[in-house]
């Protein structure tokens, strides 16, 4: 969800080295919580860094954090054209799961899941990761066969999950409609108990604070306008805040990756689409888990504030406008109302769109590019949030060493030439 407010201390240049704990909470309570130090600095860009990360969303900040923490690279900067976490990180429906079909993606998302499980402690920042379980519903026999296949594949990869019947779903979620006479009856679901949700803004802020602590410069309102190269290798970028030199540049800009690739002089197999979501007015706790339906195209969970968080499908056309079509929203709401007739009179508060970078096989592109020293991490499409820590972790390895990690090697750009695509349209959850 896009929040109207800015994180505290954005303009305050004071360095914050304090650890968040019950003691710091008590100490600050004495001064009415008015003297909390800034969570990160807002420095002026230096003329040169060891590495630049373009894009200050969750993935970019996670990359910077792990570059500093795991690879000892602290003379780096994150360049963000707006404010950190203001793009897709602040616009998604915060679902975390790792139940992907193929080994390559299962391993990548499971790495991410394992990082999620210790993330709040690692960052000393509560990302409100709540493993409340994720149901993926099936509405016809083929859905159910696919679900069984996917759950079996997950279990072979050591990822938790099982197939549940409509009666079991009804026992867990009493409000759901399992009437077999409706247009898209619920025939069962896959259930991943370790799946859940996290607080999206906190993920961006936690990684930002963590990276800042290691000395990473987080530079906001700094849009990259050109990528400079010499003899096929990057030398730096031009930005709205001057030129900055670096021999390694990691680009993590989601919907704008084609724009960046064009600056660098190569083509991407990416199309950017609006993906919409909406939240209701806050209501009392009614949905304690996450329910996703690929077939009728709606997914729903309830935030800690009580608003129902509903995700829609992508608009069929390319778009950079961060808004989508009303018919797409209408379609999703119709599905939600059929699944949960009890919610028919709930009013919706806000609706918005983000720009998702969809790849032909619904899998990300992480790795080297035709330009030396330039690395791309994009194509996460409709499901990047869940991968935030894992994506940053593998991409940090790729940027630091210049070689992909075993986990992201299958996701290289050249898979579109070799033909080794990883078809995750089934597990991606949103039809592309």
């Amino acid at each position: 969800m896009l929040r109207a407010f800015r994180p505290p201390g954005l303009e305050n240049p004071a360095l914050n080295m304090s650890k968040y704990s019950i003691f710091s909470l008590v100490r600050n309570a004495v001064s009415y919580h008015e003297n909390w130090a800034a969570a990160w600095r807002s420095p002026e860009p230096k003329p040169e860094y060891d590495a630049l990360i373009v894009g200050g969303g969750g993935h970019g900040l996670a990359t910077a954090y792990y570059l500093a923490k795991e690879h000892g690279m602290s003379n780096i900067a994150v360049l963000e054209k707006g404010w950190i976490g203001g793009g897709n990180t602040g616009r998604n429906t915060t679902i975390v799961r790792s139940n992907y079909l193929w080994d390559e993606s299962a391993h990548l998302y499971e790495k991410s899941m394992q990082l999620w499980e210790g993330l709040s402690q690692d960052l000393n920042y509560n990302v409100m990761f709540s493993q409340r379980g994720v149901y993926n519903l099936g509405h016809n026999l083929q859905d159910m066969r696919d679900i069984q296949r996917r759950v079996n594949a997950n279990r072979l990869n050591g990822i938790d999950g099982h197939v549940v019947s409509p009666q079991e779903i009804k026992r867990a979620i009493p409000e759901i409609n399992i009437d077999q006479g409706c247009r898209y009856p619920i025939l069962g679901a896959s259930f991943q108990p370790r799946g859940g949700v996290a607080r999206h803004d906190a993920v961006a802020w936690g990684f930002a604070r963590g990276a800042d602590k290691y000395g990473v410069d987080i530079i906001q309102n700094c849009e990259v306008t050109a990528i400079r190269q010499e003899n096929g290798a990057v030398t730096g970028v031009e930005t709205t805040r001057g030129s900055i030199k670096a021999k390694k540049i990691g680009v993590v800009v989601a919907g704008h990756c084609s724009v960046m690739a064009e600056m660098a002089g190569f083509r991407m197999p990416i199309e950017s689409h609006p993906l919409q979501a909406l939240v209701s007015e806050p209501i009392k706790p009614i949905i304690h888990t996450v329910i996703m339906s690929n077939a009728v195209h709606g997914y729903i969970s309830q935030s800690d504030k009580g608003d129902l968080v509903i995700g829609a499908g992508i608009d069929s056309y390319n778009g950079y406008g961060q808004r989508g079509s009303f018919p797409t929203i209408e379609h999703t709401i119709a599905a939600i109302c059929e699944m949960f007739p009890v919610l028919r009179r709930v009013r919706m508060n806000r609706q918005w769109g983000g720009i998702v970078d969809t790849a032909p096989d619904a899998c990300p592109i992480i790795g080297n590019t035709p330009v030396e020293g330039l690395y791309f991490n994009c194509g996460w499409g409709t499901g990047g949030f869940k991968a935030t820590p894992g994506s940053g972790w593998v991409f940090a390895h790729n940027v630091a060493t210049g070689e992909p990690h075993e986990l992201n090697r299958p996701f290289a750009l050249d898979r579109f030439v070799t033909g080794f695509l990883i078809d995750e349209h089934g597990a991606a959850g949103v039809a592309h």
Partner: protein
């Protein structure tokens, strides 16, 4: 809601149409002579511009014919629609 002008049927609601991706991608002749890179470029690589985009649409719930449109991907405004095989109106090249 977009109002889209089908070159055969006139102005209709967006819900009648399906977007069918980038236009003016010609299938290469003599595909057996293409390198893997050239084939990948034809099959997967897309312009995906921020701004003016030439794309195909299908009037799925109407005449069920394809046509081309010029649309801005930021404002979503459609400035022209034209039939398959034609060049964009008022422009020398695509």
């Amino acid at each position: 809601m977009l109002l889209i002008e089908c070159p055969w049927c006139g102005v209709r609601d967006e819900t009648e149409f399906a977007c069918a991706g980038e236009a003016h991608i010609a299938r290469p002749l003599e595909t057996e002579k293409l390198s893997d890179e050239e084939w990948a470029d034809y099959l997967f690589m897309r312009k995906n511009p921020k701004g003016r985009h030439y794309e195909q649409w299908l009037h799925a719930a109407g005449c069920r014919r394809y046509f081309n449109a010029v649309r801005d991907t930021v404002t979503y405004r459609i400035s022209a629609t034209y039939k398959i095989g034609e060049q964009p109106p008022g422009e020398g090249e695509k």
